[in-house]
C-alpha cells in the first residue's frame, strides 16, 4: 500500500526539477582520475582502498546476506556449526576414546575455530574475483575489496564461533563449579585475533590473485588446508609432538619446526591463552605435563603473517589489472 504511494509520488516527480537539483548537488567532490602505465605505490593503493571503504562495508553486508539467503535459520547457522561440533567432539574424544581430558570440546573448538577461519577465508577468497567477473569487467573499483570482504565476513563468523565457545565454557562452569575454565590470559585474545586476521588477509589476497589465473590453485589450497588440519594441534595436543620419539635431543628440531608453522603456532596460542593447561595422556599411559605457551613462536607467527600480507597485497596489486584480460 505505502509502497505504491511512494512509487506514484516518485513517478510524478520524475525528470522534473528534483533531478536537476540532484545533479547539481555536490554529493561527490569532482575527482580527477588519471590512468597511466605506471603502477601506483602501495601507499597510493591503500589511499584508494580507504576511499572505497563504504563499498567494502556494503560488500561485507552483502556477503553475509548471500551466504544464508535461501536458508531458514539464516545467521543462526553460524552458531549451529560450532554447537554441533561441540557435541560430536565430546562424544568422540571424551566418551568413545576416553582420553581423560575434561571438556575436550572446548580444547578442540579453541584451536579449530581460528583454523577453520583461515581455511574458509582462503578458499572463499580464491573464488571471489572469478565469481564477480561480470561486474569486474564493467566497472572500476579496487579489486582487492572482493577478497577483503570475504575475509571480513568470515572473521565475523569466527567471532560468533568464539561466542559459542565462551557460552559453552560458562555452562560447563555452572554445571560443574570448580576452577573457572577461562584463563586470565584470555586478555591476549584480541592480539591473537589480529595476527590471525593479518595472516588470513595475506593468504586470501595471494590465493585470490593466483587462482584468478590458474584455477589449480584452489584445488591445491583445498588439499593443503586439509592436510594442514592434521599438522596443527587440533585433534591432539602439542605435548604429544614434544614427547614424540622423533623429537630428540639435543636440538628438539621437530618441535621447533612444528611451532614455526604459523597455523600450528596460532592454534597452540589460542588454546593456551583461553583454557587451563591440562596434562595429556600419552604413549604407554604416561601423562605429559602441559607445556606453557612460548610467546616467541607467537611473535614468529606474527612476523610471518605480516610478511604474508605484504607479499599477498603486492602480488595482488601486480596482477589485478590483468584479471579482466584473462583469456
Amino acid at each position: 500500500m505505502s509502497l505504491k504511494n511512494k512509487v506514484h509520488v516518485g513517478a510524478s516527480n520524475d525528470g522534473e526539477p528534483a533531478h536537476a537539483q540532484q545533479f547539481a548537488s555536490p554529493a561527490a567532490p569532482p575527482s580527477q582520475l588519471t590512468l597511466s602505465v605506471e603502477s601506483p605505490g602501495m601507499i597510493e593503493e591503500l589511499q584508494e582502498l580507504w576511499r572505497f571503504r563504504e563499498l567494502l562495508l556494503t560488500m561485507v553486508h552483502r556477503e553475509l546476506r548471500v551466504r544464508y539467503k535461501n536458508s531458514f535459520l539464516g545467521i543462526l547457522w553460524s552458531f549451529v556449526s560450532p554447537l554441533v561440533t561441540t557435541v560430536v567432539m565430546w562424544l568422540v574424544f571424551s566418551v568413545f576414546m576416553n582420553n581423560g581430558i575434561h571438556n575436550y570440546s572446548a580444547y578442540y573448538l579453541a584451536a579449530f575455530l581460528p583454523f577453520a577461519f583461515l581455511q574458509q577465508s582462503t578458499l572463499d577468497a580464491s573464488q571471489s574475483v572469478l565469481s564477480a567477473l561480470p561486474i569486474v569487467k564493467k566497472v572500476y573499483f579496487p579489486r582487492e575489496l572482493l577478497p577483503l570482504s570475504v575475509v571480513i565476513s568470515n572473521f565475523i563468523h569466527l567471532l560468533l564461533g568464539f561466542v559459542v565457545l565462551f557460552a559453552y565454557l560458562l555452562v560447563v562452569y555452572i554445571r560443574f563449579p570448580g576452577s573457572f575454565p577461562i584463563q586470565p590470559t584470555v586478555i591476549y585474545l584480541p592480539l591473537l585475533l589480529i595476527i590471525t586476521l593479518t595472516f588470513a588477509t595475506g593468504m586470501a589476497l595471494l590465493s585470490c590473485a593466483l587462482n584468478t589465473f590458474y584455477e589449480d590453485v584452489k584445488y591445491l589450497v583445498t588439499v593443503g588446508m586439509y592436510l594442514m588440519l592434521f599438522c596443527c594441534p587440533i585433534m591432539y595436543f602439542v605435548e604429544m609432538v614434544a614427547n614424540s620419539k622423533i623429537n630428540r635431543e639435543p636440538y628438539f628440531w621437530v618441535y621447533k619446526l612444528y611451532n614455526l608453522n604459523p597455523f600450528a603456532a596460532l592454534c597452540i596460542a589460542f588454546r593456551k591463552t583461553i583454557l587451563a593447561p591440562t596434562p595429556v595422556l600419552g604413549r604407554d599411559g604416561i601423562r605429559y605435563a602441559a607445556i606453557p605457551l612460548d610467546w616467541n613462536y607467537v611473535l614468529a607467527a606474527g612476523l610471518i603473517s605480516v610478511a604474508t600480507l605484504v607479499l599477498g597485497y603486492s602480488t595482488f596489486n601486480r596482477l589485478k589489472w590483468r584479471f579482466v584480460e584473462r583469456p
Partner: protein, 251 residues
C-alpha cells in the same frame, strides 16, 4: 557551456595477449614458460582526443575496431599499454546493464550494492531509493529476488541505478533499446536532460540517426586508429561510404 576538459586521452595504446590455449591451469603456465612467444594483438594504436565538459561524442566503427576497448579503458576496467586516460568526475558506464546483479538478492538489495559500486554512499542511496525504483517502473517487484526478473526488468533497473548516481560522464554502449518503446523514450529523454545540464556523454552507436540526434562530434575508429574526427555531418557520410565500399569488395 564551459570549456573545461572532461576526458583527455593521450597516445593511448592497448595490447591484448592472444591465446588460443586459455591460461587457466598451471600446466599452461609451465608450457608458457618454455616458449614465451606470446602473440599480441594491438587493439588500440595511439589514440588521442579530448572531450570538453558538456559535450556528447559518438564513437563509431565496425565490430572489432576497438570501440568497446576504448570505453572500457575510460571506465577504468583496463590499464593502458601506453599513453594515459584522464577523466574529471565520476564515470557511470551504461554497459551491459545489470551485469553486476546478484540473482539471489532482491532488486532493492542489488540497487544498494550497485549504486555503492558506482560511487554513492549508502546514505545517498537511501535518499534516492524511491526515485530509482520509480524510474525503473518495477513497483512491488523490487522486493523479489532478481532471479525472478525478466531481462527487460533487469535492464530497466540497471539503467535506473546508473543514471541516479550523479555521474559527470556517461558511457552509453548501444543500450538505448532498453525495455519497450516507452521506456526507451524515457531513457532518451533522461539522457537529453543530462546533456542539457552539462553532463558529458560518450556514445557508441551504429545508428546514424541517434548519432545525429545526440552527438556534437563523432569519432570514427578503424583498426584501432582514429580515422576521422568531426561533426556527425562530416563523419557519417564518410563512414557510410567506406562501409558500403567494403561491402562491395566483399561481394
Amino acid at each position: 557551456m564551459s570549456q573545461e576538459i572532461a576526458v583527455q586521452v593521450v597516445g593511448l595504446k592497448k595490447d591484448f595477449i592472444l591465446s588460443n590455449q586459455a591460461i587457466g591451469s598451471l600446466k599452461t603456465l609451465l608450457v608458457w614458460w618454455k616458449r614465451r612467444s606470446v602473440k599480441k594483438i594491438q587493439v588500440l594504436k595511439d589514440i588521442s582526443f579530448e572531450i570538453k565538459k558538456g559535450e556528447c561524442v559518438a564513437v563509431m566503427g565496425r565490430n572489432g575496431a576497438g570501440k568497446s576497448t576504448l570505453l572500457s579503458l575510460l571506465a577504468r576496467v583496463y590499464r593502458p599499454t601506453a599513453g594515459s586516460v584522464k577523466v574529471t568526475g565520476r564515470v557511470a558506464p551504461l554497459l551491459e546493464l545489470g551485469a553486476g546483479f546478484h540473482p539471489d538478492l532482491t532488486g532493492a538489495e542489488n540497487v544498494y550494492y550497485n549504486a555503492v559500486i558506482l560511487g554513492l554512499t549508502r546514505k545517498q542511496v537511501k535518499e534516492r531509493f524511491d526515485k530509482i525504483v520509480a524510474f525503473s517502473e518495477l513497483g512491488d517487484h523490487i522486493w523479489a529476488p532478481v532471479r525472478s526478473y525478466s531481462s527487460g526488468m533487469i535492464a530497466r533497473l540497471g539503467f535506473s541505478v546508473a543514471i541516479h548516481v550523479d555521474a559527470d560522464v556517461l558511457i552509453v554502449d548501444e543500450v538505448l533499446s532498453v525495455g519497450d518503446f516507452e521506456f526507451a523514450e524515457k531513457c532518451l529523454n533522461h539522457i537529453r536532460e543530462f546533456k542539457a545540464r552539462g553532463g558529458t556523454i560518450l556514445l557508441v552507436s551504429h545508428h546514424a540517426e541517434s548519432v545525429r540526434a545526440f552527438a556534437d562530434r563523432a569519432i570514427w575508429i578503424q583498426h584501432g586508429e582514429i580515422r576521422m574526427i568531426g561533426t556527425p555531418d562530416e563523419v557519417i557520410p564518410a563512414y557510410r561510404e567506406m562501409s558500403e565500399s567494403d561491402l562491395g569488395k566483399g561481394q
